[in-house]
């Protein structure tokens, strides 16, 4: 593929981007921790089968926004969310929406790898088991193998799936957590700085994985690394002091951002 055609393809993707439907829509999302307001009327839409990166300096509210997408903020005492967030057009804060079902549809991978202190198999099988996704042992074996393959971990662990998941290396543990999230067949996967505890090689593997997962899942990723955002995402949203500064195609964001604050942050002038 020569340079010209590559550019043409990129352009085609850009044009296509505007036709991609929105998987999740956030309207005037504000989050309060007790008296303190952490997010100010954020309007941010997440496109289907796209990787959306949330960037910004520490404490800017990007993780808070991410956690409000599958209502993980509910577990924090004194946390309150206003505004509206929809998944496929349904308000996820509607009293009729079951938070358990929502989290089965919107999975999450955390900053620090947090496998259960159980075997690799049990780690992956736990989600499908509580949601009754496997009819039989054979079914379950298939789900586990498939999920581990999706997470690019199968070849490394296929001989020891019944050994402790906590015995894996940090990067493998994080991919195990991704396999665990994938196993319940979510529609959206939220990743909260999934590579911040990993070395560059493990990071590269996870990024490659995110790239592949994009085909089947909608991914929202919080990251502190500009390069990572540039590498893995198609859309990028920049947060600052609880406000959404800019949301744009990643390419445009990193070459010609609309907002001077984005420019400053990307250039490393603050943050």
């Amino acid at each position: 593929m020569n340079m010209l055609t590559e550019a043409a393809v990129e352009k085609a993707v850009d044009q296509k981007m505007n036709t991609i439907p929105y998987k999740m829509i956030g309207q005037d999302v504000s989050v309060y921790y007790g008296e303190k307001r952490a997010l100010f009327d954020v309007k941010l839409n997440i496109r289907e089968n796209t990787v959306t990166a949330l960037i910004g300096p520490s404490g800017c509210g990007k993780s808070t926004f991410l956690r409000s997408l599958n209502r993980m903020n509910d577990t924090i005492d004194g946390c309150r969310v206003t505004g509206k967030i929809t998944l496929d057009g349904e308000d996820i804060y509607d009293p009729d929406i079951d938070v358990v079902e929502l989290r089965a549809r919107v999975g999450m991978v955390f900053q620090k790898p947090n496998p259960f202190p159980k075997t690799i198999y049990e780690n992956v099988a736990y989600g499908p088991r509580i949601h009754g996704l496997a009819k039989s042992k054979v079914d379950m074996d298939q789900i586990v193998e498939h999920s581990l393959q999706r997470a690019g971990l199968w070849n490394e662990v296929k001989d020891r799936v019944h050994e402790a998941g906590t015995g894996l290396s940090g990067g493998q543990q994080q991919r195990l957590c991704i396999a665990r999230a994938v196993a319940v067949s979510p529609e959206v996967i939220l990743m909260d700085e999934p590579c911040s505890a990993l070395d560059p090689i493990a990071t590269a593997k996870v990024e490659e994985l995110i790239h592949e997962l994009r085909e089947n899942y909608t991914i929202v990723i919080v990251t502190h690394s500009m390069q990572q955002a540039a590498r893995v995402s198609q859309r990028t949203a920049m947060f600052h002091l609880g406000n959404l500064v800019e949301e744009n195609d990643t390419d445009k964001m990193f070459t010609n951002p609309d907002d001077p604050r984005t420019q400053d942050y990307i250039m490393g002038r603050f943050g």
Binding site: N70, M72, T75, D77, V100, E101, L102, R103, A104, G107, M108, V109, F110, K112, N114, P115, F116, P117, Y126, G127, I130, H131, T166, C177, R180, A181, V184
Partner: protein, 440 residues
Amino acid sequence: MTDIVSPGQGVVVSKAPERRDIGLKRRYAAERRFRIYGIAAISFGLIFLAVLLTSVVSKGYTAFLQTAITLPIEFSEKTIDPNNKRATDPSVLIAANYSVLIRDAMVKTLNLNASSRPEVRDATAMISKGAPIQLRDMVVADPSLIGRTVNITLLADANVDSANKGQIDLKVDEKNRKVNDRQVGWMNQLAETGALHKKFNTGLFVNGNSSRPEAAGLGVALVGSLYLMLIVLVLSLPIGVAASIYLEEFAPKNKLTDLIEVNINNLAAVPSIVYGLLGLAVFINFAGLPRSASLVGGLVLTLMTLPTIIIATRAALRAVPPSIRSAALGLGASKMQMVFHHVLPLAMPGILTGTIIGLAHALGETAPLLLIGMVAFVANAPATPMEPSTALPVQVYMWANEAERAFVERTSGAIIVLLLFLILMNLGAILLRRRFERRW
């Protein structure tokens, strides 16, 4: 290495600045002093532990052996059943005077003058006063013994037991001691033939309480303590764990739960005798449960143990990393599934340790049991927790109040048994923790 450190020819080395006094000496001296305080504190504790254990063991180990005298008892028909009525009226066997059999056997064995009353009295006093009952029970169980002569091992009187163990100072004037010279002579005579010997004191673990030290045992106390432990375990573990899980994982954090938390922590510090008064007022006077019963004791100890278990369980639950909870919730587990599939199994070692330490605490508790009447003299083992009973520490307390020399060693013996149970329970706690401990 030197060639790395020493510079080559012509290399200019930077000059070290003048050393500042950063108080290194003072800092190291402070550390040394602190270590010495620590070692002193530990040694102090160890010395007292050693004194306690040596004192208890040196006084108490003799309680596990007991002096017995084997005599050829002639079950003469003339004494037991002179009119040969046992076939029609078995009660004659119960009413018969078995002391005579022992007296005759002693007279015969020691070649005594049967007509000298003081001599015969001194000789029969060497045998436990419970011996005639032992013989009666044998004859009632097997009347064919009548007419035969059988070698039978009888318990020695507690004073003879003490003298045989060297606990009575024989240099003291004869009038001022419980065993006179004539009896000591007979003891030696019997010991030479092997008739007087020491045997393992099974009675200590089987018998109930008795005013005769040689027959007194911990049987009732052991059964009572077992009932207490079972009741405390069955009630306080589920209630305590359920309360902790609710407070820690489900309850909203507000003024009310803060108040409850403060109260639970305070309850753990309430003197145990207050729980005894509460038990007396509520379970016995109000609810009408029987006095001295291990059921009431168990309920009172449950109340006393609950705060300990709740505090330990909450600490264990809090020690489970929040990332595990997030992982479970993030997968769509309900709160209940998160707690029972992930948090509780990880907290289990801590919960078990707390529970066993709470139980061990309850096992050694005396004051509340005194108030609900478990301090009664109980000779027969209780069949159910509703019957009167005592407990191990209460038995220690009761025996410590007795005057006889033989009760002193039994008190220490009972303490050894109690300590053994406590050590076993603590060992169990450690093993369980090791077994279930998981790392993440």
